[in-house]
Symmetry: C2
Subunit: 189 residues, 2 copies
């Protein structure tokens, strides 16, 4: 007769096999990179609905501008930083969301503190090592590129990543177009 531990292991293995055709839950696995669940067959990108609750933080940027300060917060899909630290590159399927927000500020107990208020727009990137959508002008240079604005937050509005997106990333070309210096978690957990 099987011991209790063997029985649990048997049940777990059986369950794993029987449910093997289910999508992997990115939270449970912690290291899955299922960004292509956000992409249809022609390469249209959706914004992940749950990034604030379930993504990890890469880092925050405060952009000071007399015409209106902004906070830029970059989230990434679970496991993204750990993979990068181990492999020195972003995993295929990694999703990054950069949320651009208005800010407010006040003299607080910490000093002159500025914080994010209403979102303005979101940039979404999905790492694509396999050049999946060569005919779609929002895919290229190793990424899928997308833009969503707060007035229609689920409508992708970029049309050509070479015009709408990559220009601002050219200074970061040597680090796969990503400003990694602002993301300390890519160096240490």
């Amino acid at each position: 007769m099987m011991s209790r531990i063997s029985f649990v292991v048997f049940l777990a293995l059986t369950l794993a096999v029987l449910t093997g055709d289910q999508p992997v839950n990115s939270q449970a696995a912690g290291k899955t990179f299922n960004g292509f669940e956000l992409v249809d067959k022609t390469g249209n990108i959706r914004k992940p609905a749950d990034f604030r609750d379930h993504y990890e933080l890469f880092g925050a940027w405060m952009v000071l501008d007399p015409k209106g300060n902004q906070m830029h917060v970059t989230y990434a899909s679970p496991g993204a930083a750990e993979y990068y630290r181990k492999n020195g590159k972003f995993a295929d399927g990694t999703v990054m969301v950069k949320e651009i927000s208005k800010t407010d500020h006040a003299q607080m107990t910490t000093g002159d503190a500025h914080w994010a208020t209403a979102p303005i727009q979101w940039f979404v990137l999905i790492k694509d090592e396999k050049h999946r959508f060569t005919n779609n002008p929002l895919w290229g240079d190793g990424w899928g590129w997308a833009l969503f604005k707060a007035d229609t937050p689920d409508k992708q509005v970029a049309t050509d990543y070479k015009k709408d997106c990559i220009q601002c990333h050219i200074p970061a070309k040597s680090t796969d177009w990503i400003y990694v210096q602002g993301y300390p978690v890519l160096k240490s957990k």
Copy 2:
């Protein structure tokens, strides 16, 4: 004979019962509040080792100071924001980590951008609805309070939350001592 689906459900339930004495994995469950795993029997608080990889973001504060700008980033244990949105309060066992960092800045394609570099210190809070450690001076007003500094990052150095911690939180007393205005995710995902 059971259908395949019934069999999977049966196996899942059996597995759940048999493994019920295992610690719940906070990532898998997504809604567990196991902050007391960081606390010993007398109330000493450890800093969570994996908050950058596994916690969610509440929000970021940029504190502008001629003597040295700082970025303050507040992380929380998984599920914390979702619980707060549904219940209007922090779940017992919720952990918050506020990471205080030095910053650097540069004129970038976005403008005058400031970002976090080396950590200076971390404040850790654990929500305690049950007044667990009445004789420990780092517990009270509904929270456990802790401070870790970068030179000895795993050594808790606060001695009395009334002297070392809560003074800076008095303006936020009406929102359970937390500056919720800086955490948009507490209002919407």
